[in-house]
Amino acid sequence: VDWALALHGGAGTILREHLSPEDETRYRAGLEVALAAGRAVLEAGGTALDAVEETVTALEENPVFNAGKGSVLTAEGAVEMDAAIMDGASLDAGAVIGLRRVRNPVRLARQVMEHSPHVMLAWQGAEDFARHMGAETMALEWFVTGHRSTQLAEARAANVVSLDHSDGKYG
């Protein structure tokens, strides 16, 4: 069986005229880095589960994407991160909701899958589980970028909610 890998970094109303050549270069570079992370796992004979975890972790580490570092902000100016992972061979799954300090939510989702009897942990329960598992946490400043702060200010001014890469609004 040949390996195969695909990834996304979000969707929305991504208008060409709003995407500068410099930004497009940053996005494409981030996609290539993430693809390389998953590809390295699969080329070495690793599992699909490891490949998707490494790919998503690479995307979480890149501030241009809306996950982990670079997450969008709630109306209160906080980050609330969610993640899930699923193993097609066993139908095992793990998910986390409302994380505020865990550096890589997808890794914690996998730990929920592998080290808890549950499929999903949320909010304080997920944070407590993260501490129990020794998950790496970061200060709020790690997750918040100037770009996302500007997006929040604009959304507040217009009284709308918007997708991470969107100029299309859900009022």
Partner: protein, 135 residues
């Protein structure tokens, strides 16, 4: 939102999705990404799926699991099942966004009904694909 789907050399499939949600969202709002069957799903019997977009709509249509179910119960191939969900059903309820999916064989399917989707894919022995807009 970000996500990945993969098939390894043993034929096993997996999916993962991670997100911050929507800008200026109500605290406590949860979209489709962490909901197994809505934004994330994987089964070796059908496919692995990760979604991105207007999460409430993806939840209402249980997008990821429904694509898998169409393959399992209707015998649709991955491209047809994905097309039906993303281009025929989601737009009817203003569901903007897309999915990436991979099955037991063949290349991944990357499908979206929005203006663009940041995406990349590669199969063993083939060149990588990196794209943003329709082309």
């Amino acid at each position: 939102t970000v996500g990945a789907v993969a098939r390894d050399r043993n034929g096993n499939l997996a999916a993962a999705t991670s997100t911050g949600g929507m800008t200026n969202k109500q605290p406590g709002r949860v979209g489709d990404a962490p909901l197994i069957g809505a934004g994330t799903y994987a089964s070796n019997r059908s496919c692995a799926v990760s979604a991105t977009g207007h999460g409430e709509m993806f939840i209402r249509l249980t997008v990821a699991r429904d694509i898998a179910a169409m393959m399992e119960y209707q015998g649709l191939d991955l491209a047809a099942a994905t097309y039906r969900k993303v281009h025929e059903e989601l737009p009817r309820i203003d569901g903007a966004g897309g999915v990436i999916a991979v099955g037991a064989e063949g290349a991944p399917v990357l499908s979206f009904n929005s203006e663009g989707m940041y995406r990349a894919a590669q199969c063993e022995g083939a060149a990588p694909i990196i794209a943003i807009f329709e082309d």
